[in-house]
């Protein structure tokens, strides 16, 4: 036990002085998530504001042919400006991407309207250009609205109720709560926590195995009157502590960052208060042992620092796989899933963020199964450390 503590303390001090380890554990891991998150949230807010609130500029050829339509568009926050000289020029500039959308109102538009024959308007856009397509869709909707307004007016003029045009009235009822809507986007958070956790211990796992071997400090260490199990356990415990600290920092940085994100504009109110932060920490804590032993195990097999880095980057991504599969299939939490580490933590966290009751049986299975896998991996690490091949 004393050996274990000695090794533990030395590894903590040693790695605490290493800038790279420190940066990845205390900065990179915890900040990467919130930053990426803020970026995504801002992007989706920008996108969701597109339709009515943002004013857009629309190039129109032949404004004078449809003054009422122009007025209608302006009232819908679409600024009408003069377009290219003619149709050919419009097509050319839309094709090249200089202009997103051009509306062409032919001279006969007014006559056709007066005669109540379908009046033709051309909307020139590039459907392959997704950015332009948003504007085109908005213009298309506006034109559709104007068309319906005209139709209604014509019916009224003929003494027919405009409701005959609407045989069916679809009413969309959305039962998702603001917390529930948050879960879709915030479901990613759980991966960021796991990522930060693994990042926190990654360099320790490398340094205490492949790094120690490459430096030549492993052989003298093994010639000391201590058992290899104690050395290994001390190293894994140090890795665990770095991982736990990194996890805690990541949770706190999310807690702070969410306060500054305009999530209400997206109709989300994530349930991520101090209680949830603490609960999330304890739900994820068992994953620390698993992460530390898994990374140490993988790094033990590698021959050099560089090789270990390559392999451990793959380990960083591995926990996303079950989360990804379940997200794509949109599966609900089930008891079976709780046996799968990373997935079980993800599902429990999502429930917490959605402010839904968390199934305690699920939590128990998640904690125990994750700890069991972690313990098994630690045991394998210790076995591996007894091998001669360790020295490479």
């Amino acid at each position: 036990m004393r050996t274990l503590l000695t090794v533990f303390r030395k590894e903590v001090v040693d790695n605490f002085r290493d800038r790279r380890t420190l940066a990845s554990a205390l900065l990179m891991g915890p900040l990467f998530g919130p930053l990426l998150f803020a970026f995504i949230i801002n992007l989706s807010i920008e996108r969701s504001l597109d339709d009515l609130e943002r004013s857009m500029e629309l190039q129109v050829i032949g404004q004078e042919n449809a003054p009422n339509l122009m007025r209608y568009l302006r009232s819908h926050n679409i600024e009408v400006v003069a377009g290219p000289a003619d149709r050919a020029a419009a097509i050319a500039s839309v094709t090249s991407g200089d202009i997103d959308v051009v509306v062409l109102v032919p001279e006969v538009f007014g006559e056709q309207l007066a005669a109540a024959t379908p009046a033709k308007i051309e909307l020139i856009s590039d459907r392959a250009n997704t950015q332009a397509e948003r504007d085109a869709r908005r213009v298309r909707n506006a034109l559709q609205g104007y068309s319906q307004q005209l139709a209604a007016m014509r019916l009224v003029a003929r003494g027919v109720s405009p409701t005959v045009l609407r045989p069916i009235n679809v009413d969309d009822v959305d039962v998702s709560t603001p917390s529930g809507r948050s879960a879709m986007l915030l479901g990613m958070m759980s991966y960021f926590f796991i990522f930060a956790l693994l990042m926190g211990g990654m360099y320790l796992a490398i340094d205490t195995t492949a790094g120690e071997r490459e430096r030549g400090s492993l052989e003298p260490l093994l010639s000391l009157p201590v058992t290899r199990d104690q050395l290994m356990l001390g190293k894994i415990s140090a890795t665990c502590v770095f991982m736990a600290v990194s996890l805690l920092l990541s949770l706190c940085s999310f807690f702070v960052a969410l306060k500054f994100m305009p999530l209400q504009q997206l109709g989300m109110t994530p349930n991520f208060g101090p209680t949830v932060v603490v609960a999330a920490f304890f739900v994820l804590l068992p994953f620390v042992l698993l992460g530390a032993s898994l990374m140490t195990l993988v790094a033990s097999f590698t021959k050099s620092y560089k090789e270990a880095q390559t392999w451990l980057s793959i380990v960083l991504i591995a926990p996303t796989l079950p989360i990804l599969i379940v997200s794509i299939l949109t599966l609900r939490p089930q008891v079976e899933f709780m046996f799968i580490p990373s997935l079980s933590q993800h599902l429990i966290l999502v429930d917490m963020i959605k402010n839904e009751p968390v199934n305690l049986l699920h939590v128990a299975i998640s904690v125990l199964s994750t700890l069991a896998v972690g313990a098994a991996l630690t045991w394998i690490c210790a076995r591996l450390y007894r091998r001669e091949g360790l020295l490479g």
């Binding site: 040693d14 052989e219 003298p220 009157p225 201590v226």
Partner: protein, 242 residues
């Protein structure tokens, strides 16, 4: 006291050591001499228990290196070839870490570390972090680290590699001091002169076998060469390549 009894060790198809036996008694300096790849390091690695022999065995103060490896390790201080330090720890911390792992009493550690720092004359850089140390400084700190728990048996694998004249000299003095204190010193080298100047007993290894084991004079006599270097070459030829 180190007793080596017919050690065999292969790595895959490479038969690194094929039956090495010798004794390294207390109060004497034993030199393991041989060309590159002769099996010196492998033999020493078996002795400080990071490798297990395929056949044969060895004892350190009566402790078998395979069955009683923990006790055997307790009796040795080892300086492996190219031993590395922890770059983010100071020299003193590197030494103290080993002292703690060797189970020294908390109160004694500071005193022991101070003593070994003085003995090896490394006070000038003892409080500096080891990153950027010269080869000589590194070797001295590694040596201090190996000796901090006052081991009876000292195993040094090519300790003079990369050292300048001054450093080699002080290393030699240290080894003689250890001998006078009644320790068993076993070190390997491929430099004839160094071994001849220092050792009471010389074990010449070639192709994984002991070519000859004797004092410097004994070797000169038995190989019928006045020059030790010639004697070395002849002794190696005696083993053959089979």
């Amino acid at each position: 006291m180190i007793v080596v009894n017919d050690i065999h060790k292969s790595f895959g198809k490479v038969r690194a050591v094929r039956g090495v036996s010798f004794d390294a008694p207390d109060g004497k300096i034993t030199g393991l001499l041989g060309p590159n790849g002769a099996g010196k390091s492998t033999t020493l690695r078996v002795l400080y228990t990071v490798l297990q022999p395929d056949e044969g065995g060895a004892t350190i103060d009566g402790n078998d290196v395979v069955t009683n490896s923990l006790e055997a390790r307790q009796c040795i201080g080892a300086l492996p070839h190219g031993a590395g330090l922890y770059p983010h720890l100071t020299a003193r911390e590197n030494i103290a870490y080993y002292a703690r792992l060797c189970g020294l009493d908390k109160n004694d550690i500071e005193e022991r570390v101070a003593g070994i720092v003085e003995l090896l004359d490394i006070g000038d850089f003892a409080n500096r972090r080891c990153k950027g140390f010269s080869q000589g400084q590194r070797t001295k700190v590694s040596l201090a680290r190996a000796l901090v728990h006052n081991p009876q048996n000292i195993i040094l694998d090519e300790p003079s590699n990369g050292l300048d004249v001054m450093a080699t000299r002080s290393l030699r003095e240290l080894i003689l001091k250890l001998k006078d204190a009644g320790r068993c010193v076993l070190f390997s080298s491929h430099v004839m002169q160094e071994v001849a100047a220092l050792c009471d007993d010389i074990v010449i290894i070639a192709n994984g076998k002991v070519a000859i084991e004797d004092s410097a004079d004994g070797i000169r006599e038995r190989t019928d060469c006045d020059d030790l270097e010639d004697a070395f070459v002849r002794a190696i030829d005696m083993v053959g390549d089979d």
